[in-house]
Symmetry: C2
Subunit: 397 residues, 2 copies
């Protein structure tokens, strides 16, 4: 396997659960050396989140593959000392504690900078490290609600709806990765360090894009409109015999192809559906007409027929369909088998950023708690097995 | 204003509409020089997308601020020649055409590599540049459907639901930015170029995280469960007098604080609600009890009361509330006024990645079509005004 694109980058990773670990996971798959620092005895909270395989959390194993795991108690004086000495030799540190936690430990960015002025310090939190709400605890659902995403997701007359995945966490994990990498680019050029502060709520707000522009420009508050979009039709979900599909006809040509296939070519001359703007206005009537046709076919039939004539269509895949899809799971390798020392054969989500020369890949399975204590504490501090054992006994490792 | 963290990075940006331009926008805010190459006379399709201010698209203006705009017809021989000469001097090129388009133009990665072996070529498309579906057109709704996100978003018994923003585009724009920056880090160290291939569908699949693990581990297909989460309760939305709020009590302590505030401290001893696992099992009954209480208060009252005692709570903000929020719009500067030469005063979404030393910021407004032809064509080719005029006339610029 080729060397990773981030080979040689040393990252101290204090993150737990989702947003921070997702960032560390992406960096690890790209070949950075991630040293995951966990609380002795307990470890990352997500080690206790199901589902489990042979007692190991698949939540944890997926997000922490390719990381070396050590235990270190940052509340002890010895623990702080070891940590600060590791900071001297690291390129990057990432954490997703509640704002102020690192300062309370005496390990805030301002302190770490005096130890290693070039350190890149990446943090992700609910509301960020400054601003009137920065002390509040932030969770995924808080960011989806507060950031406006829930207010625009769902059905007319229905309730605001969260996105089915922890999207606030994912967006901020991606954003922290961007910030850290931009800081590494700058460090390679100028030698300068940097703090990178990412908030779940800000990340959700950034994802709203055009939604906020609609309000800012027109004063109209965007509402929930189900699966259609404000600007184009038919670009929506449609019921079929065994579920639903999405069809995306963004222009007149695609619409004409669709209605030909439906055996109703006259619809292109119907004054309600002449141009995209007319179709958006009469979307409800058009949906009814299309569904009268689509309900006669299965997902597979509709997909085959429309793809043949070049009309964009897709099944609304349930998770089992994705895992068995020849493109997604096959060619794009989005699910990868990894042998874990305790759990055995596991299947993890593959890396989705495809490099031509230095392919990202899962380097090795997630660590068991403290699995790399010996390797890392020998490498950094030349400690003997007996010394490591002693530090475990007194609660430092 | 401090210099940007990516100062000196030259990016040729062929992208249109959302996913690609969002990546270019993030790079521009971080100080890279983005040269946006648009089709003569027409430009980026999104120039025609509303809402408009003085005839200028706010969709376009938001996503293309900080980019220098030139027009260039890549279908002409002269256009290709100019482009290839610019590729020689650029660090990065990004595009989000349909797979195969650049190759048909004779401008695919393999060709560009012969001109500039160190070029970083970033592309984003619906299904990626290889695999059985790679020739299909990909749109946001296709990726949300095909990638499984819609199947897990929405309400029990209800329809699969898309996320209210173009999340497939946003996730892939963020992911392309990560890929390009990782490639820049590697280029600075090794001199090596790279192709970075990002697909909307893969990006959505990566965002599913634990959802796929549930299926892979247990064989259970994750379903739509509204606003609650599989693993913890009460962590959900609740009806109040003037709308809804979300409350996130992830552990016993927070639950006990909540029921005390509700005046029903005995609930912690109720066998249905003893531990988190019990509360998850009896979530429907608990929701009913909490809503009987919450419905008596307004959003603002609930927020004030629960924050006071440290229970995570948030309003489900509509877009108008975000734009006027003292934390989001105030301290975190998530909305920024920019003076556009035609549209006048506009408000754009601010950058959400906060750097301590080299702050990201909106450098200047989005270009009018071909606004920087003179500047760029003089700089790269030393063309005179008359020569530029001539190239405009014959349809090259």
């Amino acid at each position: 396997m080729s060397k990773g694109i981030l080979e040689g980058l040393v990252v101290l990773d204090l993150t737990r659960v989702l947003a921070g670990p997702y960032c560390g996971m992406l960096l690890a798959d790209m070949g950075a050396e991630i040293i995951k620092v966990e609380t002795p005895k307990k470890g990352d909270d997500s080690r206790a989140f199901g589902p489990f395989i042979n007692g190991e959390s698949s939540y944890y194993m997926n997000l922490n593959r390719g990381k070396k795991g050590i235990t270190l108690n940052l509340k002890t004086e010895d623990g702080k000392k070891f940590f600060l000495q590791m900071v001297e030799k690291a390129d990057v540190i990432i954490e997703n504690f509640r704002t102020g936690t690192m300062e309370k430990l005496g390990l805030g960015y301002e302190t770490l900078k005096t130890i290693n002025p070039n350190i890149i310090y990446g943090c992700v939190s609910g509301f960020g490290h400054y601003g009137p709400y920065c002390d509040r605890a932030g969770y995924d659902i808080i960011s989806q609600a507060m950031g406006g995403l829930m207010s625009t997701t769902g059905w007319p007359g229905g309730e605001p709806t969260r996105t089915g995945t922890a999207m606030g966490d994912v967006l901020s994990g991606l954003s922290l990765t961007i910030g850290v990498l931009a800081a590494v680019v700058n460090k390679l050029k100028t030698g300068e360090g940097q703090k990178v502060d990412v908030a779940l709520v800000d990340s959700v707000v950034s994802s709203l894009e055009i939604i906020t522009q609609i309000y800012l420009t027109s004063g109209k508050i965007p509402e929930r409109i189900g699966n259609r979009y404000e600007s184009t039709y038919p670009y929506d979900s449609f019921k079929v015999k065994d579920g639903s599909v999405v069809i995306a006809c963004g222009n007149d040509k695609l619409f004409s192809l669709l209605v030909n296939e439906m055996g109703q070519p006259e619809l292109v001359k119907d004054s309600r559906f002449l141009k995209n703007i007319d179709r958006v206005e009469h979307h409800a009537q058009l949906k009814e007409i299309i569904e009268k046709w689509s309900i006669n076919f299965t997902i597979d039939e509709i997909e085959e027929n429309l793809l043949k004539i070049g009309v964009p269509v897709a099944p609304i895949n349930t998770i089992d369909r994705i895992i068995n899809d020849p493109h997604i799971a096959g060619a794009r390798e989005m699910f990868v088998e990894v042998q874990h020392p305790v759990a055995g054969k596991t299947t993890l989500t593959g890396d989705h950023i495809k490099f031509s020369e230095r392919k990202a890949h899962i380097q090795f399975p997630a660590p068991t708690l403290g699995q790399h204590n010996k390797e890392i504490y020998q490498k950094f501090f030349n400690l003997t097995d007996a010394q490591i054992e002693e530090y475990v006994k007194i609660g430092v490792f």
